[in-house]
Symmetry: C2
Subunit: 312 residues, 2 copies
């Protein structure tokens, strides 16, 4: 099978951990253990998040020179290099030397007319006191919004429209290469308004799961897996009535309500993939990856069927 | 032809320029103009340096948290992402949309027993006053050496032994993909002493030209071009008797003396490539790239022959 696996944020950094190279490596090593058996049996594409890493790089930029921040497209490219390197190295250490690897920089086109640009919602970088946030907004043209009792920069999270490097990814997969790509949702780019042939970077952040779904669709993947903190999608999450969903047809699951901030986008991406391709998508926890692929753990979203199967 | 082009440091940043994203982009745009006609006619692999970029990232790390520096392998991976992105985007803007591109993260094996580790010589990062440099050396285990009237960290520059991603690069070239790889001489790695299967990052810097030469050799390139500030290799450079070398057989050129800090390593790499492969190498200036490939500019180093041809 050809499988696209989207690593969750906790595969790189657990909540509250200091973001040192060593902490990230230790987490990547755990992820590599779950990925290695899959890589031996299937065509494997790995994507990952980059939120905390972009935040740290932005903070470092600012500590160094408050007036000179690298834009988000460039920071995204840096994190694709950094995180891709760790995944490639740690997973490579668990596989036979002969297994080919490639970490590909991935540019993703977004639409300048995407409504997300009118209403930026994605927090990036550090938190500030209100006065400081207002000053930065005035100085740098940022949009800032409250995050708890502090303020923070927000940027648009537009929909991914096109992944530019899709053919190289396909060619590499056909040669049995494990491909790491589309890190952090890909580098956001768009064609300039006045010059439709000129691609430029965009100050935005693309949702990792949405981008991974587009990637899986473009690659005609047999299975699209999103890994996260929880072992399955739950109905009534956090309530006494909560029940794990073992499998569900996309047409039924897509009508059920899930929190916009957590499981909602993952469920939407899984349903869209299954409906669009006729292939299954799955959501579950990293250590269960092999069992998720076998249909024995996590939540499987199917293209057809008329029944939701619940677990405990 | 299959051509490996190594961009010089000035293709990314001119001496004395502030290292802003915009300045780098402007320079990459100039390089893209020279590369575009070549990309249309040949299989093209592009490599590049990363010295100033690694220095800046190290400085940002330090401004943010003096005790938590990302190691040089990780910083190298970040710059491969950042610089590769700019090259891919700017060159892509000059070529037909259909032309496939891939920027590949590149890990390079070095030998832990390389004598370079006993005598680190490569300056990295910012300069310090002596007291501060001594403190950092004690705190972080750095080796520091004088650089002018200031002090600076030095790291080993070991010889590149193996490029891990060579097969993916070949497969992509066979599909007509323009490949950006081996940036900054590649990410330095080695197998751990106590575990020969475990690849780890190394606090070192690999010479970009040496690594590009190994890459060109591994790829069986028809031509290996190193771009630099000067239009050719000169005999008696800077003296009234200086003469540009238009072409020279590697066996003769390799016996002539060139400055270790500037043209020496490039000449050595060119001679080694020509002697090892029977194909030509060339050294010259970025704007002359098309003419260098045609043998009409720069210095061509040939595998055979018995005559050095001088220009003006």
């Amino acid at each position: 099978m050809r499988i696209v696996v989207a690593l969750g944020g906790n595969a790189l950094l657990k909540r509250g951990e200091p973001m040192t190279t060593e902490a990230q490596r230790a987490n990547v090593r755990i992820a590599a253990k779950a990925l290695a058996p899959v890589a031996g049996q299937h065509q494997l594409v790995i994507t990952h998040g980059n939120g905390p890493q972009v935040g740290l790089l932005a903070l470092q930029d600012e500590a160094y020179d408050p007036d000179e921040n690298a834009p988000l497209d460039v920071l995204g490219a840096e994190t694709e290099g950094m995180i891709g390197y760790m995944i490639e190295q740690e997973l490579g250490n668990l596989l036979p030397f002969e297994k080919p690897f490639a970490t590909l920089l991935t540019m993703v086109e977004v639409d300048g007319a995407d409504p997300a640009f009118k209403n930026p919602t994605k927090f990036v970088g550090p938190v500030y006191a209100k006065a400081e946030a207002d000053r930065l907004a005035a100085d740098k043209g940022w949009v800032v919004k409250p995050d708890g009792d502090k303020w923070r920069r927000v940027v648009a999270s537009p929909e991914p429209k096109r992944i530019f490097e899709i053919r190289p990814v396909k060619w590499l997969l056909e040669h049995g290469t494990i491909v790491v790509c589309a890190g952090g949702g890909g580098i956001p780019t768009m064609y300039e308004k006045d010059d439709e042939r000129k691609l430029i970077g965009v100050e935005a952040v693309i949702d990792k799961d949405l981008c991974s779904e587009l990637l899986a669709r473009d690659l005609d993947a047999d299975l699209f897996v999103m890994l996260t903190d929880t072992d399955a999608v739950y109905l009534d999450w956090g309530k006494p009535t909560q029940r794990a969903i073992r499998s569900a047809p996309s047409a039924m699951l897509s009508k059920m309500p899930f929190a916009a901030g957590s499981m909602g986008p993952k469920v939407a991406a899984a349903c869209h993939f299954a409906a669009a391709t006729g292939h299954a998508a799955a959501i579950g926890a990293l250590p269960d990856l092999s069992r998720i692929i076998a249909g024995e753990a996590g939540t499987t979203v199917t293209a057809t069927g008329s029944e939701i199967v619940y677990g405990s």
